[in-house]
Amino acid sequence: MSVLLRAEHIDKRFGITHAVNDVSIDINAGEVRALIGENGSGKSTFCQMLCGIYTIGGGTFTLDGQVMNVRNQVEANRLGVSIIVQEMGTLSGLTVAENIFLGHEDPFMHYGIKDTRAMIREGQRLLDEYGFNNIRAGAMIDSYNFEDRKLVEIVKATYMKPKILIVDETTTALSQNGRLELYKIMDSVRADGRSVIFISHDLREILERSDTITILRDGEYIDTVNSKDVDEDGLKRLMVGREIGSAYYRTDYGTEISPEVVLSVRDVTVPGQIEDVSFDLHRGEILGFGGLSECGMHEAGKAVFGASLERYGSVTLADGTAINDIPTAIKHSIAYASKDRDNESIILNESIRNNIILPSIDDLAEHHILSGGKLNRFAQEYAEKMQTKMQGIHQFVSDLSGGNKQKVVLARWIGKGSDILVLDSPTRGIDVKVKQAIYALMSELRAQGKSIIMISEEIPELLGMSDRILIMKDGKINGEFKRSESLSEEDLIAKMV
């Protein structure tokens, strides 16, 4: 196999953080190369230098014999490198076609005049070719949901037939069908003798979909292995640098759930989202919610927290307090961590300290006066309790990796002393080491008698952590399972689809 991309001594620093440290790898033509590592291991930074989002700190990328020195994504696209990013990569206020061809309008320009019809026609042709016929090229992108916009992004990144396609933690944003479409595209890239760099935290997906796997740790190159020569435990060991095994999920089975109900949800309906949802949450229980992405489970979490905009039915605490809005929920010790971490859980352009103290400010104030020292000590205590990797509590959250952002979210609610935690996709986009820490924390909270609603799209997580699992389908509860060693993924899937 010939080398398509050669990365030599690639280096990048952000202040005192050495994000990528002298990494050298070769990627062959016709290969799907997975890039794995913990959050903050440098894999996304490495790829973002390759595609021009970040400037290269040191070293060289050589693509097909040509040294790359790109300043932005469009220059990288022209040389044959495309990326599909983890978060939203399309722009509001533009049509679908304008998004697909943004920065690449030249074929449609004649003496400075844009042939809009030809652009829409070509955009529609591409969408049809990819099988995304439900998306109209002339429509405003704003009229489509997150997943459809992700599909538009896939078309945008691949229609030029890039030599290197980077798929950066995209699959978590897609439903099963969307994932299958993406896998097909990755397979066709490989079949054409081009290459894919595939980033994902789902190790099973990595093993199934990649030919070779490169592991990074703390910005440094660790190893490259063949996918067929390694298993999940081996990958975890390489990523973390030590054995990760038995303590990953809970190992206890058969423990009785307390009969004491702490929260009752009765006939909750959110029009168009969930219908007649009823359940009880018990003291010291981890109640899992599973289902397909659009089944309504995420809205159910919001409804419990009083965050739904139009909700019918009742959510009441054991003492009869009705939870109808967020301030009441927080006042009565309910916490909520959204799936959309960056937009709904965290304030990116604020410090770790200010994020952690946010719901606890009233508790920390003395006669309405806040003491800086007290706030600092509070934030420091809970950031450390969560083992947040940071330069200090005054560091901006935007500088943190996904896993450490999630630790800040959890530190906030642990600091608040919440008794009921609604955690929506608590380990989404998070590496195995932080996952393990979050699972350990959940077990600890459960042992303290706190109750957790865990909404998850990961079936092993539901099976591994929940005392009870509710499966939702089409906005309704479609099945209930008690924790059991004999419970299988197939049992849950049968109720999901």
Partner: protein, 312 residues
């Protein structure tokens, strides 16, 4: 149904319904003084002047920028145009207004990029400068457009010129990179940069285009009023807001794909309300209160964000 509610036709229907509603209200309240075909045509002619400025403002407002120097530029460009018209006739008038307007836009864009401070601050500072330059250029004298150069003072001249401006705006938005890139920058400047868009260049182009349209507005304004007096002390500030109200309509109706129609019809609605109050004999202060309130109500009812969405 969902598609229809996002369609251009639906946007037009809302705008048309608003025109009919306000027309009907004032026609009922004051049938003899308001709303004859001649009256409506007169309201329309006065509103298109602001619509032209509203079109120009659209380019920068969608990028999240703001410009307080529009009023000062209308005054300065009008005065420069009238002065040049005295020597060069129509050519001097048109080139003076358009050239001065555009140069000022380029200057604002250039300084905004170089100083790297918010557009609101840059344009407030420059507004004071332009007001003083206008006083200096006019020599403290009221400038009057010669009677033989008043083709754009009424129909069909004013309508032809405004229609050309609207057509230009439509063409730029739909058939050049500028429209796409302005929207992209407004949506996410960082991503736009990563798509290879030269953000500073397009912001400068945005300001240049805005003030080119302000130049057209200056032609229409001084032709309609026939004179222009230079004033200092931020007195041009009030000229910023009427075109801006049209832009608010345009931005609000962008989701229906009808920004230009929304600007033009929106300004017409404001003219109907304003003239309706005049016909009722309401004092100016009341007229302003009701016009402002009507704008808020209209935009709230037609284009506010979804419940729970973040509005800045």
């Amino acid at each position: 149904m969902r598609n229809f509610k996002n369609s251009r036709l639906f946007g037009f229907m809302i705008l048309a319904a608003m025109v009919l509603f306000f027309y009907a209200v004032f026609k009922v309240l004051t049938p003899s003084n308001f709303g004859s075909p001649e009256n409506l045509f007169s309201y329309f002619q006065s509103s298109i002047i602001y619509s032209v400025g509203g079109c120009g403002l659209y380019f920068i407002v969608v990028m999240g920028l703001f410009d307080f120097a529009v009023g000062a530029n209308i005054v300065l460009s009008s005065i420069v145009g009238v002065i040049l018209s005295e020597k060069f006739g129509y050519a001097g008038f048109l080139v003076g207004c358009l050239g001065c307007g555009t140069l000022i836009g380029i200057l604002i864009g250039f300084l905004y990029n170089k100083l790297n401070v918010p557009s609101m601050i840059v344009t407030v500072g420059l507004m004071l400068v332009f007001e003083s330059v206008a006083v200096f250029a006019a020599g403290g004298v009221k400038q009057t457009l010669a009677p033989e150069l008043r083709f754009f003072s009424g129909a069909p001249g004013n309508i032809i010129l405004a229609a050309l401006a609207f057509a230009l705006m439509w063409f730029i938005l739909n058939y050049t990179r500028i429209g796409t890139y302005c929207n992209a920058i407004g949506s996410n400047e960082f991503t736009a940069k990563n798509m290879g868009i030269d953000v500073k260049k397009y912001k400068l182009i945005g300001f240049a285009l805005l003030h080119f349209f302000v130049g057209i507005m200056a032609i229409l304004t001084v032709s309609y009023g026939t004179t222009m007096t230079a004033l200092t002390g931020m007195s041009t500030m009030s000229r910023n807001f009427q075109p801006l109200m049209g832009t608010f309509f345009g931005v609000a109706f962008r989701k229906y794909g009808t920004p230009i129609s929304a600007i033009v019809i929106g300004e017409f609605i404001i003219a109907i309300i304003f003239n309706g109050f005049v016909a009722l004999g309401a004092p100016t202060t009341i007229q302003n209160v009701v016009t402002g309130a009507a704008l808020l109500i209209i935009v709230t009812l037609t284009a506010r964000g979804k419940r729970g969405s973040v509005v800045k």
